[in-house]
Amino acid sequence: MVISRNNDILANAIGSETVMMSIEQGRYYGTNNTGSYIWKLLETPLSFGELCDRLANDFNISKDQCVREVEPFLAELSKENIIIVQ
């Protein structure tokens, strides 16, 4: 499973938060700093495992906790077509 950004999404940061805009739908979404960090990591496509390894390391949390917390977030991004999961 590889996770990548949808290139039709425009994103830009205000402070530690990120606004993401879907050109196609004309809708926009906001995320907090963790979400912004994930978006930044996805500049290069990553597998779910690689992403969680990076987050567990950078935020100093267990990989289990990371998997538990990140999965629903990614599911939501994928549902809104902000990221592509293949």
């Binding site: 425009l10 830009n12 990120t18 606004v19 805009m21 050109i23 004309g26 926009y28 906001g30």
Partner: protein
């Protein structure tokens, strides 16, 4: 007769007079406004609504009993007035919807806002119709601040991407009760159009310059039932406020300018200060002006 103006970043040549705009004898037009016949339909539309049709390059606005307006290639505006239409009403749609279209089409970020100058920097007051933008601008004007825009305030990014405001308008459009709250008699002013209790109040500047003014802060006005509240906004609600207060934001979507609008909004969001002002309905205008002008000295 041909008139030449500048407003909100556009050099305008027009067969119709706009005393509200800044007279400016430019060389090259961005926009040319003339009378002519306008078709009922345009081809290859990407959007069709009850009053407007939009194609890749053109825009048709059809206001029953007033006029048909056709914008070709984002620069040529043709007006086809209906028989017996009042001239001021015909002009009003140029200054609102057509201007909105021209600005977005030319990738200019246009806010629904009035603006003034404080210590050589522009302060923008944005808000929905009826939120008191023009009334506030008048109050500050009477205290010696220059007014550079009413209703539409457009942002210019210089070569270093620093945001400025284009001057654009030298009248304030005010409801009769706003004029009365300052002790004016509305009858002494011209109506912006027949049948509407809204009047045009001229605001003069020492030099009617078209020079852009560095933008310091945007205030988003809202009426409220609670007490007066001025809060700085620093998180991503800024984007929400910019979008909500973009002049004719619906057009941005319809003409497919999301990308430019988003990039310009975010460029702005990162560089200046934003505040929301909740103003209680019952607050006296004089007290409100006191508080705002005090605030302008501290930001």
């Amino acid at each position: 007769m041909i008139y030449k103006y500048f407003s909100n970043g556009l050099n305008i040549q027009s067969e119709i007079a706009f005393p509200e705009l800044i007279e400016f004898n430019h060389e090259i037009d961005d926009v040319f406004i003339r009378f002519g016949s306008v078709p009922d339909k345009i081809d290859n539309t990407v959007f069709e609504g009850p009053f407007r049709q939009i194609s890749q390059n053109d825009f048709l606005l059809n206001i029953k009993g007033v006029a048909k307006y056709f914008v070709k290639g984002g620069s040529e505006v043709i007006i086809d007035p209906c028989e017996g239409a009042e001239e001021n009403t015909v002009r009003l749609y140029i200054l609102s919807t057509i201007f909105g279209y021209l600005l977005h089409k030319n990738n200019i970020l246009a806010l629904h806002a009035s603006s003034i100058v404080s210590n050589n920097e522009a302060i923008v007051f944005a808000g929905p119709s009826g939120s008191g933008k023009s009334t506030l601008a008048l109050g500050l004007y009477k205290r010696g601040y220059e007014v550079i825009n009413d209703d539409i305030s457009s942002v210019y990014f210089d070569k270093n991407e620093v945001p400025h405001v284009y001057p654009g308008y030298k009248h304030l459009k005010l409801w009769a009760n706003s004029l009365e709250s300052y002790g004016y008699r509305p009858i002494n002013f011209g109506k912006i159009r027949a049948g509407l209790e809204k009047y045009s109040y001229p605001v003069s500047r020492l030099n009617s310059s078209i020079e852009t003014i560095p933008l310091k802060a945007v205030f988003f006005l809202e009426l409220s039932n609670l007490s007066l509240n001025i809060t700085e906004i620093t998180d991503l609600r800024i984007y929400n406020f910019i979008q909500k207060n973009t002049f004719r934001y619906g057009l941005v979507k319809q003409i497919g300018k999301h990308n430019f609008h988003f990039q310009n909004s975010m460029k702005l969001a990162k560089q200046i200060k934003f505040f929301s002002i909740e103003r209680p309905l019952e607050m006296k205008i004089i007290d409100f002006i006191d508080i705002v002008s005090e605030k302008l000295n501290t930001i």
